[in-house]
C-alpha cells in the first residue's frame, strides 16, 4: 500500500515538470488568437491583411517634422513610411492613371469648357503637354486623404484644430517588439513636444494592458499581504504558507500539463479562468491543515477528511465536466484543467500532506469575534431579508441585459482616444473607419476586383471610400486607359482645329504600364502582395451594407467578433452554471435528501442573486462573461462550505467553522479585493464574488440553525 502511495506521489510531482518543459520549449504553446475562442469553422480573418491594420501607426506634430522623424527612427520595431514626390510621377504616368471617361462621349464639351470658362481656363503648358487635360481631371479626383497635402519625403500636411500638422505614417512590428516600449517612447517624446499626437491599435492594447497590470499589481500586493497575515495569525507558521503555495503550484501545473498533452496548446483565457481554481484548491488545503493539526495521528485525520473532500471534489468535477460537451475550445480546455487540478489537489492532500510536519493551529481572536458577532445577528438573516435578496437578484438578472462589448471590458485611455479621433478626422475626414478585406491570389487580381467594385458604386458613394485601386490602377486598367487616349487622339485634334488652336500631339505609343511599387504612395496604401484593404466612413451605414453584399469583401469586425465570442461564452456558461447547480443539488440530495433545499439550494440561490444585486447597485448592472464566471466560483466554493460544514460532527463543528471562516477570508482577500479594481470587468467579477460568497457562507451556517453553533464556535476558539 505504501508503495502505491509513493508511486502516486512520484507521478504527481513529476507530471508538472512535463508542463514546465513544454512551456519553456515552446512559449507559443500559449495561444492568444481570437480564432481559438470562436466556435470551430467561423474563422474569417485573413492574417496578412488584418496584420496590416494592427501594424498601422499614425503620429503627428505641429513642430519640426524632420526632428520628430529622427527621434522616431530610434524606436525599435517602428518603420517610418517615406514616399517620393507625387506630382512628377503623376505627370509622367497621367495616361495610365486616368480612365478618360469624357474622351468617349464628352470630349468636345470638356475642351470648349476649358477654352472659354472664366475660372479655370486652359494654359499654354496644357496645350503643349496635356491637350487631353488629364492633369486637371486627376486633380479633381478624390485623393487620399482629401484634405491632406504631401510634403515628401515623410510628412503629410493636415489641419487639426485649425493648425497645420506634419503627419507621419509608420508600421510597427508588434509581433516581435514590445508595444509597451513604443508607448513609453512616444510618451517620452511628448514631454519635449506637447503637440505630439499618436494612435495605433498596438498603443491601445499596450495602454489597456499596462492599466490592468498596474491594477492587478496594486490589488495583488494588498491581497498577498492580507493572505500572509491571515495564515501567520492562524497557523503561527511560515511552513504552512509555503506548503500551500507548493501544493497549489503543483496542482495548477498538473492541470496545464494535461491540457498541453491533450490539446497541444493552451489558450490564455483558459489560463485566466483556470486561475479561479486556486480559490477552491486553497480551501482543500485549509481543511486538511486544520484537521491534521487537530488530530493525534495523520491516519485518523485522512480518514476524517476523505468523505467531505471526495464529495466536494466529485461535485466540482461533475460541474466542470459539463463544459467538455461544448464546441468552444477554451471551455473544453478549462474542463480538463479543472478536473486535473482539483483531483491533484485532492490526492496531494491525502498522500503528501500527512507526511509533512503540520504545526498546531493557534487560537485566532479575530475569527472568534467574527463567529460570535455573526451568531448574534443570525436571527436577522433568517427572516424575510433572504427572500428579498433572492427576488431582487432574479429581477436583476431579468431586467439587466448582458453587455458583451469587449471595448467596455478594458480601460480605454482617454488621451489615446482623443488623439485617435483627431488624427482620424485629419487623415480620413471622418471620426471612425470601417475596414473591408479583399484577399486574392495576387495584388493585380485584388486591384482588378477592386476596380469592378468601384465601377458598380455611385460617385457619391465613392466619396466615402478609400479604394487603393483608385490611386494605383491594375495593369489591365492602365492598358485600357492608354488605349482610350490612342483612339480619341484624332477627334481631339479636330476639336482644337475647329477653334484655331494648334496642339502638340502627345506621344501615346511609348506609354507602358507601371508596377504598383513604383507609385509614390505605395507605402501609404493598405495593400499587400495578396490583397488589399478598403476603408469606409464609419457613419456611412448604407454603403457598408452595400459593400457587405460583395462576396469577395470581408468586413473586419474584430471588436464585434470578440464581443460575439464573449456573448456566446457567456450564454453557454450560464447554461452550464444552471446545469452545474442542478447536478450538485442532485448529488447532495443523494446524501441529505430533502434537507438539501435548506442546506444548499436556498443559500446558493441567495448567494448568486445577492452577488448580482450588489453588481447592479455598484456597477449599474454590468453583466458580462466574468460575472457568470464569478457565479461558477460561488457555486464551487459554496458547495465546499456546505459539504464540509454538514459532514462534520457536532464535536468538530467549532473547528470546521474556524476553517471555513479562514477559507472564506482567504478568498475574499484574494479574489474579493478585485472589486476595488478600476477596470469595470474585473470590479464586477470581484464584487459579485465578494458579496456572493459572504451570503453563501452565512447561508450555509445560518439556514442550518447554526447561530448557536457560531457563538459556541467563537467561545471554543477564544479558549
Amino acid at each position: 500500500m505504501k508503495g502505491i502511495n509513493y508511486f502516486i506521489l512520484a507521478v504527481l510531482l513529476l507530471l508538472p515538470l512535463g508542463g514546465i518543459y513544454q512551456l519553456l520549449r515552446s512559449p507559443a504553446s500559449v495561444q492568444i488568437s481570437l480564432e481559438a475562442l470562436l466556435p470551430q469553422h467561423t474563422n474569417q480573418l485573413k492574417d496578412e491583411l488584418s496584420r496590416l491594420l494592427k501594424q498601422k501607426v499614425l503620429i503627428a506634430t505641429k513642430q519640426d517634422g524632420s526632428k520628430l522623424h529622427e527621434q522616431l527612427k530610434q524606436i525599435p520595431g517602428l518603420t517610418l513610411n517615406e514616399y517620393q514626390p507625387l506630382e512628377e510621377f503623376t505627370f509622367l504616368h497621367r495616361y495610365q492613371l486616368l480612365n478618360c471617361s469624357y474622351c468617349r462621349n464628352n470630349l468636345t464639351d470638356t475642351i470648349t469648357s476649358a477654352l472659354y470658362n472664366p475660372f479655370a481656363s486652359i494654359t499654354d503648358l496644357e496645350l503643349s503637354h496635356d491637350p487631353f487635360l488629364v492633369m486637371r481631371h486627376l486633380m479633381e479626383q478624390p485623393q487620399i486623404p482629401a484634405k491632406i497635402s504631401y510634403d515628401p519625403p515623410f510628412c503629410l500636411r493636415g489641419t487639426i484644430n485649425r493648425e497645420q500638422y506634419c503627419l507621419i505614417t509608420a508600421t510597427f512590428d508588434y509581433e516581435h517588439f514590445s508595444s509597451q516600449d513604443l508607448l513609453n517612447s512616444l510618451q517620452q517624446i511628448r514631454l519635449t513636444d506637447p503637440s505630439l499626437l499618436y494612435t495605433a491599435d498596438a498603443l491601445f492594447a499596450a495602454s489597456a494592458s499596462r492599466n490592468a497590470q498596474n491594477d492587478m499589481m496594486r490589488i495583488g500586493i494588498i491581497s498577498t499581504i492580507g493572505c500572509v497575515i491571515l495564515f501567520i495569525l492562524t497557523f503561527h507558521s511560515i511552513r504552512i504558507l509555503l506548503f500551500t503555495v507548493l501544493t497549489l503550484g503543483i496542482a495548477l501545473l498538473e492541470g496545464i500539463a494535461a491540457v498541453l498533452m491533450l490539446f497541444g496548446s493552451i489558450h490564455a483565457i483558459t489560463l485566466a479562468l483556470g486561475a479561479c481554481l486556486i480559490g477552491i484548491c486553497i480551501d482543500y488545503n485549509l481543511h486538511t491543515f486544520m484537521t491534521l493539526s487537530d488530530e493525534k495521528s495523520s491516519k485518523a485525520a485522512v480518514l476524517k477528511l476523505k468523505a467531505p473532500l471526495l464529495l466536494s471534489l466529485l461535485s466540482s468535477v461533475a460541474a466542470y465536466l459539463v463544459m467538455a460537451l461544448t464546441d468552444l475550445l477554451v471551455l473544453r480546455q478549462l474542463s480538463v484543467m479543472a478536473v486535473v487540478t482539483l483531483t491533484t489537489t485532492y490526492l496531494l492532500m491525502l498522500y503528501l500532506l500527512p507526511h509533512l510536519p503540520i504545526p498546531k493551529v493557534a487560537p485566532n481572536p479575530l475569527v472568534a469575534l467574527m463567529l460570535k458577532g455573526a451568531g448574534n445577528i443570525a436571527v436577522l438573516w433568517k427572516t424575510a431579508l433572504w427572500g428579498i435578496i433572492i427576488l431582487a437578484g432574479i429581477w436583476c438578472w431579468l431586467s439587466h441585459p448582458a453587455d458583451d462589448d469587449v471595448a467596455r471590458m478594458q480601460q480605454v485611455d482617454a488621451q489615446l482616444s482623443q488623439h485617435n479621433q483627431l488624427l482620424e478626422q485629419a487623415l480620413h475626414d471622418h471620426r471612425s473607419s470601417v475596414w473591408f478585406q479583399l484577399p486574392a491570389s495576387s495584388l493585380q487580381m485584388a486591384l482588378e476586383q477592386c476596380e469592378q467594385i468601384r465601377d458598380s458604386l455611385s460617385k457619391d458613394q465613392l466619396r466615402h471610400l478609400l479604394l487603393p485601386c483608385s490611386i494605383i490602377p491594375s495593369n489591365r486598367q492602365q492598358s485600357a486607359n492608354i488605349k482610350i487616349y490612342q483612339q480619341s487622339l484624332p477627334q481631339l485634334q479636330k476639336i482644337y482645329q475647329q477653334f484655331g488652336v494648334d496642339i502638340s500631339p502627345p506621344d501615346l505609343d511609348n506609354q507602358t504600364v507601371f508596377a504598383p511599387r513604383e507609385h509614390p504612395l505605395y507605402n501609404l496604401l493598405p495593400i499587400t502582395d495578396h490583397g488589399l484593404l478598403i476603408r469606409v466612413d464609419g457613419s456611412a451605414d448604407d454603403l457598408i451594407a452595400r459593400l457587405n453584399q460583395f462576396p469577395e469583401l470581408l468586413q473586419i469586425r474584430q471588436r464585434q467578433l470578440w464581443s460575439q465570442a464573449f456573448g456566446k461564452y457567456r450564454t453557454q456558461l450560464s447554461i452550464l452554471l444552471c446545469s452545474g447547480f442542478i447536478i450538485i443539488a442532485l448529488m447532495l440530495y443523494a446524501r441529505w435528501g430533502r434537507q438539501t433545499l435548506r442546506i444548499f439550494v436556498l443559500p446558493a440561490l441567495c448567494a448568486l442573486c445577492g452577488g448580482t444585486l450588489a453588481n447592479v447597485l455598484w456597477t449599474q448592472g454590468y453583466m458580462n462573461l466574468f460575472t457568470v464566471m464569478a457565479g461558477f466560483m460561488i457555486l464551487g466554493l459554496g458547495t465546499d462550505y456546505c459539504v464540509f460544514y454538514h459532514l462534520s460532527s457536532e464535536q468538530e463543528k467549532s473547528r470546521t467553522l474556524h476553517t471555513l471562516l479562514i477559507a472564506w477570508l482567504t478568498t475574499e482577500i484574494s479574489f474579493g479585493m478585485l472589486a476595488l479594481s478600476d477596470t469595470a470587468v474585473i470590479a464586477s467579477f470581484g464584487l459579485n464574488l465578494a458579496v456572493g460568497l459572504a451570503l453563501m457562507l452565512s447561508g450555509v451556517i445560518i439556514w442550518s440553525d447554526g447561530s448557536n453553533n457560531l457563538i459556541r464556535g467563537g467561545n471554543d476558539i477564544s479558549k
Binding site: T108, D109, S113, L115, Y116, P118, F119, D124, L127, E140
Partner: protein, 206 residues
Amino acid sequence: MTATRRHMLCLTFLALTTLWCGPISGLTPAGFELDNQSIIDATYQMEKYLAARKLKLVSHGRARISAQRGICWQVTDPVRKTWFIHQGVVSDLSSTEGDTTADTPAFMTQGFMALLLGDVSQISPDYNLRINQDEQGNTKLYLRPQDPKLTQIIDLISIHIVRGYVQNIRVVEKSGSSTSLTFDQFKTDKLNDLDLLQDCRDKVNK
C-alpha cells in the same frame, strides 16, 4: 520636356487652386453692392491671351450674379455653354450628357465669386494689395503674389471697380499669358421668388 517645365505645369495647377482662398483682414467688399435680395445682370467679354502661341481666344456672354443664390454664367459666342455655380458646386447645364457636376473645389468657386464681387477680404493673404482710388470714387485693386510658388506663375491680378461695379478683372501670368474679363450693360434686379437655377436652365436653349 525638362524637369523645370514639368514643375511649372504642376505649379500652374497649384496656382489655379490657390488663387482664391483666405481673407485679407480689414477690407470690406468694394465691388457689387449686393444685398440678399438683389441680382446683377451683365454682359461680358473674356479675352484669353496665350503668349507662347500668340493666340487670342475671345468669348462673349452674360452673367447673372446673386450673393445668396449663386452665379449663372453663359457663354454665347463662339460656343454656347452655361454653368451654374452655387455653394462651391459647378454644374454644366449645357452638357450633352445633361446636368453634370464638375469636381471644382469649393474654395475655388467661392474665390471666383469673391473676385466678381471685388471682395478682397476673401482673397488670399499670399498677395500684396495696393489700392488706387480716383476722385469719382472708382477703385483699382492690384494684387501681387508674395508666396514664392505663386510668384513663379502669377505676375499680377488687377480688379477695376467703377461706380460700385467690378468692370474688369485681369490676371497676368509670368509667362506673359493673360485672362481679361470685362463687364458691361449692368442691370440690378430684385430677386423676389426667382429660382436662379431654373431661370439659368431655361436660358440654356435660348
